[in-house]
């Protein structure tokens, strides 16, 4: 493992409280960013080794700033903003979650994130409350500006070498910068802060381009892409068959239950008698 491993930290902190997870040999699976960093520090993989005590204090302070100011707006952008949620997040999740679950899980997550915002920003929050929403974004934009001012012309937040604070900040900023959303006020503002854009780009090129890999895809598959049709083909066919089967079952079930069609079980000689009777009827 390299001395500084941002891959372990680059996970979208929005997705769930249980991510990211790090699988280790001794301690099993460890959840949550802070616990993973603590674990890595115990193993002597420490990005903050060269920091002074004051810089370590600053790290804690800026992480709090991100959590209090930027994170609520990020949650809003992805999960509560109606346009983004319907066009992007729900679609994105529905694509990756297996078939029956993809109808419930995104909605469940939407509700959970909305509740979280309500709890963080006060009881009176509603989905369509414009004043509170405005305040939320004012805070977040201010937070971005403050980060830009703090970074100044430095390469990283504490001079020339990266520390864990850089991983935290980068993971939030890269998400804002690279995601393709229908409406993203955060992205517009971040684009107007050239030093932060430069900062994200440089971390991306230094730490995320090994083996010709590019940055993790941050938008749902576009419906026009040719390859996606082929990828989706087996699932599509299966889903079609399944839906037709379910429809047929429902129709037959309804017909049986409501007595439109009834099945009578009769013994063989009775059937012959019945057949004869029918024939006689016809003759009559």
């Amino acid at each position: 493992m390299p001395h500084f491993c941002p891959i372990c930290l680059l996970t979208c902190p929005l997705l769930s409280g249980r991510l990211p997870a790090l699988k280790t040999r001794q301690d099993g699976v460890i959840f949550q960013t802070s616990k993973i960093i603590t674990h890595l520090k115990k193993q002597k993989y420490n990005a903050d080794y060269d920091l002074s005590a004051k810089q370590a204090a600053d790290t804690l302070a800026f992480i709090s700033l991100l959590e209090e100011k930027l994170l609520p707006a990020l949650i809003h952008t992805f999960w509560v903003d109606a346009k983004n949620y319907v066009d992007h997040t729900r679609k994105w999740y529905a694509e990756t979650i297996p078939f029956p679950l993809n109808f419930f899980i995104p909605n469940q997550m939407h509700k959970r994130h909305l509740e979280r915002l309500q709890l963080i920003r006060g009881e009176s929050w509603r989905e369509d409350d414009e004043t509170l929403e405005k305040q939320l974004y004012t805070d977040a934009l201010e937070c971005l500006t403050l980060l830009s001012q703090r970074l100044g012309t430095h390469r990283f937040f504490f001079g020339d070498s990266p520390a864990s604070l850089d991983a935290y900040i980068f993971s939030h900023l890269a998400l804002v910068l690279n995601v393709k959303l229908p409406s993203s006020r955060l992205q517009q503002h971040l684009r107007s802060l050239p030093n932060l854009c430069q900062y994200c780009a440089s971390i991306l090129t230094i730490y995320f381009t090994r083996d010709g890999e590019t940055f993790p895809r941050l938008s749902p598959k576009s419906p026009t892409a040719e390859s996606s049709d082929y990828e989706e083909e087996p699932n599509k066919r299966r889903n079609q068959i399944l839906s037709v089967a379910v429809g047929l079952l429902a129709m037959v079930g309804y017909a049986l239950l409501s007595g439109i069609v009834s099945i009578q079980r009769v013994s063989e000689d009775k059937a012959v008698e019945l057949g004869l009777a029918l024939e006689e009827d016809e003759e009559d």
Binding site: A56, E115, R116
Partner: protein, 284 residues
């Protein structure tokens, strides 16, 4: 009625509000509302109230302290304290700082951009860790809840209502803790977090009189509010107090602000109508 007043205020655009605010000077009859000092107020509320008082005192703005049992329900945001200036009502430290700035009084004008970013970050550190820890200890630690929080919080109300309000508040705080991932924490971990936060603040303060050298800022007011309250409040055990007392420069910092901004004014408050801080316990 108060809530109605806030809504009409928030409908007016920000620029307009600040224009009006700038035109009108600070009135003589500005009032700060907070819960009853001796029998009702809780640790976290007292910290917030003291922070706003300290901030106004540092700005040298006179304000009359009024204690009301229903201050929480009078406040436009549902949080104490709030100030009533002219025809406007503003609650909590952040908005108060902005409002006072619009009137032409600011403590952070002398700071450069990097320092301003750091100041905001440290303020969020206090809100994120100290305030949350205080809420956790008050509402999630069963011993403190039973012995201190429950009797104090329900003191103004008679039986059926008092139990309902305590239960409602308790559930709200528990849900909030769950949303921010604190629900699974043990009391020891919370004390550890407080210690970590105090360590960061202590490192940052160093040997300076205030966080940004000679002049106090709103950060100093906020830190003072929380640490002074923790130091002077008797809880079920001394563990929280001891965490702060370990850092001698923080204790000295609290004493310094108390002497400079509260004791002087107490002496001449008989002649002028400046802040009349109900005399709380002084530092040991």
């Amino acid at each position: 009625m108060w809530r109605g007043g806030f809504l009409t205020m928030s409908l007016v655009t920000d620029a307009f509000v600040s224009q009006i605010a700038a035109v009108e000077p600070w009135p003589e009859n500005a009032t700060i509302y907070q819960p009853l000092k001796s029998e009702q107020v809780l640790l976290s509320d007292n910290a917030s109230c003291l922070a706003v008082q300290a901030f106004l005192q540092m700005c040298n703005l006179p304000v009359l302290v009024v204690c009301r049992a229903n201050a929480e329900y009078m406040s436009p945001s549902g949080k104490v304290p709030f100030i009533h200036v002219g025809n406007q009502v503003i609650s909590e430290l952040g908005p108060v700082v902005q409002f006072v700035k619009a009137k032409g009084h600011s403590l952070s004008n002398g700071l450069d951009e990097v320092q301003k970013a750091e100041m905001k970050a440290y303020m969020e550190l206090v809100n994120n860790m100290l305030l949350t820890a205080e809420l956790y200890i008050q509402w999630c630690d069963e011993a403190t809840l039973e012995e201190i929080t429950q009797p104090r919080y329900s003191s103004p109300y008679s039986w059926p209502l008092s139990s309902i309000l305590v239960l409602k508040k308790k559930l709200e705080i528990k849900r909030k803790m769950k949303a921010i991932g604190w629900a699974g924490k043990k009391l020891e971990q919370v004390y550890e977090d407080v210690d970590q936060c105090c360590q960061a603040l202590s490192q940052r303060l160093g040997t300076q009189p205030y966080f940004f050298n000679k002049q106090p800022t709103e950060l100093d007011a906020l830190v003072f509010g929380h640490l002074f309250t923790i130091l002077t409040t008797q809880l079920t055990n001394d563990e929280l107090q001891e965490k702060v007392k370990n850092y001698s420069n923080l204790v000295a910092f609290c004493r310094r602000i108390e002497q400079n901004y509260f004791e002087d004014h107490d002496r001449d408050s008989s002649s002028s109508s400046s802040l009349r801080l109900p005399r709380g316990p002084t530092l040991p």
